[in-house]
């Protein structure tokens, strides 16, 4: 195994072990997204037909806000005991750190999504009209779109004053096309009005472009002084 893959896997294992023992990020995300689900039902009070129209938006807004919680914590861990500084001087490839972190966040957010989707189905009386299996690529690509740029931008916002405020401010504008893609694709599957092919392609293009840019620029950002 090349050193990049080996270091990525060991970074990922470390993050997963930390999360397994503390469950900090997953618990915070779960409870936060649950609150969003409940508050949205009060705010919009939708019928079953209406909720099919709007739930694509609700789901992704809930997950987007929840993801911010996890992404903000992701790099904070590395600040304790100067772990990040140690990483900077080590010969390990910077992209391995990034990929480990991004894959870890992807895993945590996917777990939260899998646990919360049944709740959306129950609270909003959902029954997809279109083919439900199409939601799988939408969720995988959409979550990766949020996570890869989010992990990168969390590393940027780590260097600013009032870090936790900064992350959504820089992440949301860039994520708008991805968010639009996720919401439209999910709504199309739920209402069965149209095929979500265009939006899945858009998410794929977004993922490929920004994963590449993240990998090209991460080392520069990590070593920025």
């Amino acid at each position: 195994m090349s050193s990049l893959a080996a270091v990525t896997v060991s970074n990922l294992r470390k993050d997963v072990r930390l999360e397994w023992r503390s469950k900090d990020a997953v618990n915070a995300m779960l409870f936060f997204a649950l609150l969003v689900v409940v508050i949205f039902s009060f705010a919009f009070d939708p019928t079953a037909e209406e909720s099919r129209q709007i739930v694509g938006g609700l789901v992704w807004v809930a997950f987007l806000f929840a993801a911010i919680v996890a992404l903000n914590q992701a790099w904070m861990r590395e600040l304790r005991n100067q772990v990040l500084d140690a990483y900077r001087v080590s010969p390990a490839p910077a992209n391995a750190l990034f990929m480990g972190k991004a894959l870890g966040n992807f895993l945590f957010i996917s777990v939260v999504e899998a646990l919360l989707m049944p709740l959306f189905v129950v609270f909003y009386n959902l029954r997809p009209v279109g083919p439900a299996w199409q939601l799988v690529p939408v969720f995988l690509l959409g979550t990766w779109a949020l996570v890869v740029v989010g992990t990168f931008f969390a590393a940027i916002s780590l260097r600013t004053r009032s870090r936790e405020v900064m992350l959504p401010l820089i992440l949301f504008p860039i994520s708008i096309p991805a968010l639009l893609g996720m919401v439209e694709a999910t709504t199309m599957v739920l209402t069965g009005t149209d095929t979500p092919r265009f939006w899945i392609t858009l998410l794929l293009v977004y993922d490929v472009i920004f994963t590449t840019v993240c990998l090209l620029l991460f080392e520069t950002v990590l070593h920025a002084e």
Binding site: T160, L169, I170, P173, L180, L202, T220, V221, A224, E225
Partner: protein
């Protein structure tokens, strides 16, 4: 001196462009005088897009060469670009209200321009909140993300919906401008570009001065620290 001459030329250009837009260009047949806002709306849009493009190039140059002048240029163009983009976003609804009957619609170009504005405001926010030597690098990274995002935003929103008037200048049949209208658009564009260049020039000099001041402060602090050790 060069700056003063350029400022005078800009002033003359802006005056002549104002005459072109308000007097020389003919009255539009259906929309009437309200159409004249077009001479400010479109040149501002072109100018702001060029500013953002310059910001993208300057950011790449900064990352490649670590040249602080490139960073100063990147800040200046982003700020001036946001100003002109704001002009676009303000003049658009002013025109749309009487012509379309609505202030705003979530059409492809309107929404893309709004997202563009949001992206570059977030860039300026990052610069404002970021501290220390890392700022230019972090900002340049964000600028690259932002610029690459624009075509994706446009594609996605175009698929979502479209209402903006089709391109009148190089569109299909029935499009096209009266030669006098053309003159007004182009003169205004030249004038706005000169005005943007003037603003960028001022902002660039300010940024360079600020960098020198920071450097002087840092050197002074080092000097004092050294002095206290030797004493």
């Amino acid at each position: 001196m060069k700056f003063k001459i350029f400022a005078v030329i800009t002033f003359l250009l802006l005056s002549y462009a104002l005459y072109q837009g308000m007097v020389a260009a003919p009255r539009e047949a259906t929309m009437g005088d309200i159409q004249r806002i077009f001479y400010y709306h479109v040149p501002s849009a072109w100018t702001s897009f060029l500013c953002f493009f310059a910001n993208f190039i300057a950011s790449i140059i900064y990352l490649a060469r670590r040249n602080l002048k490139a960073d100063a240029f990147a800040v200046s163009t982003a700020e001036v670009g946001v100003v002109f983009c704001t002009v676009v976003l303000v003049t658009g609804p002013l025109w749309a209200r009487p012509v379309w009957g609505i202030w705003w619609t979530w059409d492809a170009r309107l929404t893309t321009t709004l997202v563009l504005w949001l992206i570059y405001v977030s860039y300026l926010m990052l610069r404002r909140y970021s501290t220390g030597q890392a700022t230019p690098t972090l900002a340049a990274a964000l600028a690259i993300f932002g610029f690459l995002d624009v075509p994706i935003v446009y594609m996605s929103i175009r698929w979502w919906r479209t209402q903006h008037p089709q391109p009148v200048i190089a569109g299909g049949q029935g499009s096209g401008l009266d030669p006098h209208m053309w003159a007004a658009v182009l003169w205004n564009w030249v004038a706005f570009m000169a005005f943007a260049a003037l603003l960028i020039w001022v902002r660039y000099r300010l940024e360079i001065t600020r960098q020198q001041l920071d450097e002087a402060h840092a050197l002074k602090a080092v000097g004092q620290a050294e002095g206290s050790f030797t004493r």
